[in-house]
Amino acid sequence: MILLDVLLDEPGPSPGEDATLAQAMRQVGNVVLPATVVHTGVSGQAKGVVPLDLFASAAWAVGHTLLTESAADGVLRRLVLVPPPVGEAGFPQGSFAAIGAAALDGSATAAGGRRSSAAPQPGRHGRPGAQLIDFAGPAGTYFPLPARLFLEDQAAASLLAGRIVIVGSALPESHDAFLSPFSSGGAEGMSGVEVQANCVAALLARRPLRTCGPTIILAAT
């Protein structure tokens, strides 16, 4: 399963290259693409951003990559499983990470199955709505392999066999970084692609992370 964490909502500079990418996605048949929500205008109206039809039709599924950052401190602690209404026809109801996790544990249909229309199901992936992300560690704990490695050495593909492969950018220029619970003053943000890795791992966990009861919280604070 390949989670291609790249928003393909605009055509590239070359239509031929777009067609080649779509053809490759169709050929491998296991690529999941992301969709997201942007807030536009003064009112901050939510608008869904989905892949172009060319790519969405070639992908195995499309999932949303919505996350919840704390309004109090900006730290990311939860991934959204059920998206809010965005008034966008065809906006995926299944989470990008949940589709990947379900594919690995053999329950692909539970997380949305093929295409984006099916809603996520509650169950072992925790309560519907949101799920705490079980971060393995600070930024860099999931070390990304450079894509160049696979272009230069075909044998390197064996490193990916049987695994969920999350492809994206870890470049600061992509402005896709989040504060995690491990971030401290001035700490480097975690790239979106590594956040997605932590999300998939959290959804694969046999014992999903849950908040403790109010009594324990009171006692601890």
Binding site: V6, T36, L145, S191, V200
Partner: protein
């Protein structure tokens, strides 16, 4: 790839470091509480969660997941959230 021994050592060191951070955080929380600042945080469960993460330390990443990051920046990476496009890098 770390060997099992070096991984254990590293994890042990990280755990010790996490313990120190946790004790420090608890001390700060206690002082904040005495000074009446704790109420301004307004999210004790989140702070407790962060504390638990630091106490637990770094875990071994899931072997079921591989990350591939592209140095070949495609145009999509240059699209920012409001739909405008950043200038392409030279």
């Amino acid at each position: 790839m770390l060997g099992a021994d070096s991984w254990s050592r590293r994890q042990h060191q990280v755990r010790l470091s996490g313990m120190r951070s946790a004790i420090l955080a608890a001390a700060v929380a206690a002082i904040a509480s005495i000074l009446g600042l704790a109420g301004t945080l307004d999210f004790p469960d989140a702070k407790l969660l962060d504390l638990c993460f630091r106490l637990r330390g770094v875990q071994r990443p899931s072997p079921a997941i591989a990350l591939v990051a592209s140095p070949l920046t495609p145009p999509a990476f240059l699209t920012v959230s409001d739909g405008t496009r950043c200038p392409e890098r030279s």
